[in-house]
């Protein structure tokens, strides 16, 4: 009976996820297809004016590029489009003809996942430790300073942190001779002369180039984890069951992990998975700053070049990542929180 309620909870969430993805895809379809001066009409016009070809020919080109059959009625186009999305087929890129959007995304995505994901995991680990320590040392003199720095870091935009990092590491000559890092050599994902491969040289080079972006992501998210962990732990510390556990004479390690940690980790893991979703879409500016060849930079390039299939594909991938991660967060919540198994979930599910 208990398992059944978890199952229905998860099924409900799964259904919700599928519906959300469907809605997002639909919105994008109508943005692309039905708006006045939509990209397809604009593309056809451009082709006719630029190359002097007939309307039918331009329309054919547009149809192959966007992988849509423009002669069909709208609802059939819509379903065909849904089918394409299901097969992750977003058509071909306009800027680099003949290359499918999915191929480009597949080559760009790992870089973004590497830097943003690395930054997220690092900030998560460091932030949780600092936050937990701060919760126990609430009466020390340095606690307000650490909390202040954390709230400062969580408030200011990430690219301002990036600019400050560049200034600190790459511009100011602290000892009067050279900068700490050769920042001008560190643009892009790896050095020009390098050949991608799994050798030490290349990995070191990649790490070198990814270092400042990762540091930026880490610092910009660190504050959130510190504050969140501190609040969660503090509120757990004051509860009756923790006092009770202490009175019962349980060891402090047992109290820390089984009574405080278990409860404090609930909101933290949820938040972690929520943020995991934003990995794919959260890196536009930093990637532009460091000319890091990730998916965000590709989206900017596509937007500047009016590469609509590309824009659409990347945007969809970004949204789907968020929806899927939200779903994972809810699944994990069900696993971690025994109260959901008791059946209360269906009512207070968000």
């Amino acid at each position: 009976m208990k398992n059944l309620s978890v199952l229905t909870y998860l099924l409900k969430k799964l259904l919700r996820m599928v519906l959300t993805i469907l809605l997002v895809t639909t919105i994008i379809f109508f943005l692309i297809r039905l708006m006045p001066s939509n990209p397809i009409d604009r593309y056809i016009e451009d082709q006719m004016v630029q190359y002097g070809i007939s309307y039918a020919e331009a329309k054919n080109r547009a149809a192959t590029l966007f992988s849509m059959d423009l002669d069909q009625p709208m609802y059939q186009q819509y379903f065909a489009y849904l089918g394409n999305v299901l097969r992750l087929d977003f058509g071909d890129s306009l800027l680099s003809p003949g290359v499918s959007v999915m191929e480009i995304i597949a080559t760009r995505l790992p870089w973004t996942l590497f830097t943003v994901g690395g930054g997220l995991i690092l900030s998560f680990i460091i932030g949780i430790v600092i936050g937990a320590v701060m919760a126990f040392k609430r009466d020390r003199w340095y606690e307000p300073i650490v909390t202040g720095i954390a709230s400062f870091l969580s408030a200011i935009p990430d690219f301002l942190i990036a600019i400050c990092l560049i200034l600190i590491f790459g511009v100011v000559r602290w000892n009067g001779e050279s900068t700490i890092l050769p920042i001008a050599m560190m643009r892009g994902t790896y050095s020009m002369q390098m050949k991608p491969g799994w050798n030490t040289e290349f990995v070191l080079d990649v790490l070198m180039h990814g270092m400042i972006p990762i540091l930026t992501y880490m610092l910009s998210q660190l504050g959130v984890w510190v504050l969140l962990m501190k609040t969660c732990t503090t509120s757990c510390l004051n509860t009756d069951y923790v006092t009770m556990a202490k009175i019962r004479g349980l060891s402090s390690g047992k109290v820390l992990f089984s009574y405080i940690g278990r409860n404090a980790l609930l909101p933290i893991t949820t938040e972690f998975f929520m943020r995991l979703g934003f990995i794919v879409g959260g890196a536009l500016i930093i990637e532009q700053l460091f000319v890091y060849q990730g998916i965000g930079l590709e989206l900017l390039r596509a937007t500047n070049g009016r590469d609509y299939p590309m824009m659409q594909g990347i945007f969809l991938v970004m949204s789907i990542a968020i929806v899927v991660c939200n779903f994972l967060a809810e699944v994990l919540y069900a696993v971690l929180d025994p109260r959901i198994k008791a059946g209360g979930a269906a009512k207070n599910g968000k």
Partner: protein, 296 residues
């Protein structure tokens, strides 16, 4: 129906006054709140007086390009030989107006939808809640980047778009708050008087939400400043004169690597940080009042 609007209920007579009193208490009794409030006032005063006191250089001066700070130009000059301090002093006005406009639109939408959704309830409520969930899973900055491919965004258009885009997050907080207010006696009394839903939302509920609205106002201002500065930085918005644009220009001119005129990029960066921090601190001080449970 005829004289329903003349009812004055207990809740609405005191809501606004209580809110003002509480906010004053919050700001004067919280150090960070006080500092933030003073900073914000300073920035506003500077923005208002700057056109008279520190007029912008309209002409470029080729002999004074990218100079270091000096007595004549206390923060040096930019790539066109214009004084940077004057740009800093004038750069906040547009940003503040923009953020305020976006926040007002966002608040209006969020409060109206959230309150009505909680009051009406039923199917309308669950559909709205689902829509808000969908809306929240669309990444904001990428969406704006994609939108900029369709529309030519100007700063004010962007404020409206941002305001509309930010309804979902606020909707959820307001809805939850109204759901708890709904259980209170005065709302029940209002229902029993057969007042219209519009009356209940705007005359009974909104005044009691002023604290939440103030907190979210500062949050929305902050996030819209972030969005605008990001978009400007990525070169998607047309350039007007504000701090974000200065950062963008300084960056594209490669000023970062030129320690002599580092203030060209450092000054607007610091100003944006100060503005955001002041908003955060004021917001936090207000939040402590609205959520007494968070008070130490």
């Amino acid at each position: 129906m005829e004289n329903k609007s003349t009812y004055v209920t207990l809740s609405q007579s005191s809501g606004m006054k209580k809110f003002l009193h509480n906010s004053w208490f919050a700001i004067t009794h919280d150090k960070a709140g006080m500092v933030g409030f003073c900073l914000l006032i300073l920035i506003i005063v500077m923005s208002v007086t700057a056109p008279v006191v520190f007029p912008l250089d309209v002409e470029s001066d080729p002999s004074q390009i990218l100079t270091a700070p000096s007595a004549q130009h206390i923060l040096g000059t930019d790539h066109l030989g214009r004084d940077i301090w004057a740009q800093i002093a004038n750069g906040g006005r547009e940003l503040l107006l923009f953020a305020a406009l976006a926040a007002i639109i966002g608040i209006a939408l969020g409060v109206t939808l959230g309150a009505f959704s909680a009051i009406i309830g039923g199917r309308f409520d669950s559909v709205m809640l689902f829509l808000a969930d969908v809306w929240l899973s669309i990444p904001r900055i990428p969406l704006l980047v994609v939108l900029s491919g369709f529309f030519s965004l100007t700063s004010m258009k962007l404020a409206i778009v941002l305001g509309i885009l930010s309804w979902a997050g606020l909707y959820r907080t307001i809805r939850a708050e109204v759901l708890s207010l709904k259980e209170r006696d005065f709302i029940e009394a209002a229902f029993m008087q057969n007042l219209t839903k519009t009356h209940i939302v705007f005359k009974e509920i909104t005044p009691n939400l002023m604290g939440f609205i103030a907190v979210n106002f500062s949050l929305l201002m902050r996030s819209s400043i972030y969005s605008q500065v990001s978009l400007v930085f990525m070169g998607i918005l047309p350039l007007e004169q504000n701090w974000g644009v200065m950062i963008n220009q300084a960056w594209t001119q490669g000023v970062v690597y030129n320690p002599k005129c580092i203030w060209f990029i450092l000054a607007p960066t610091i100003m944006i940080c100060l503005l955001i921090i002041s908003l955060v601190w004021v917001g936090k001080a207000l939040e402590d009042v609205c959520n007494p449970s968070l008070r130490k």
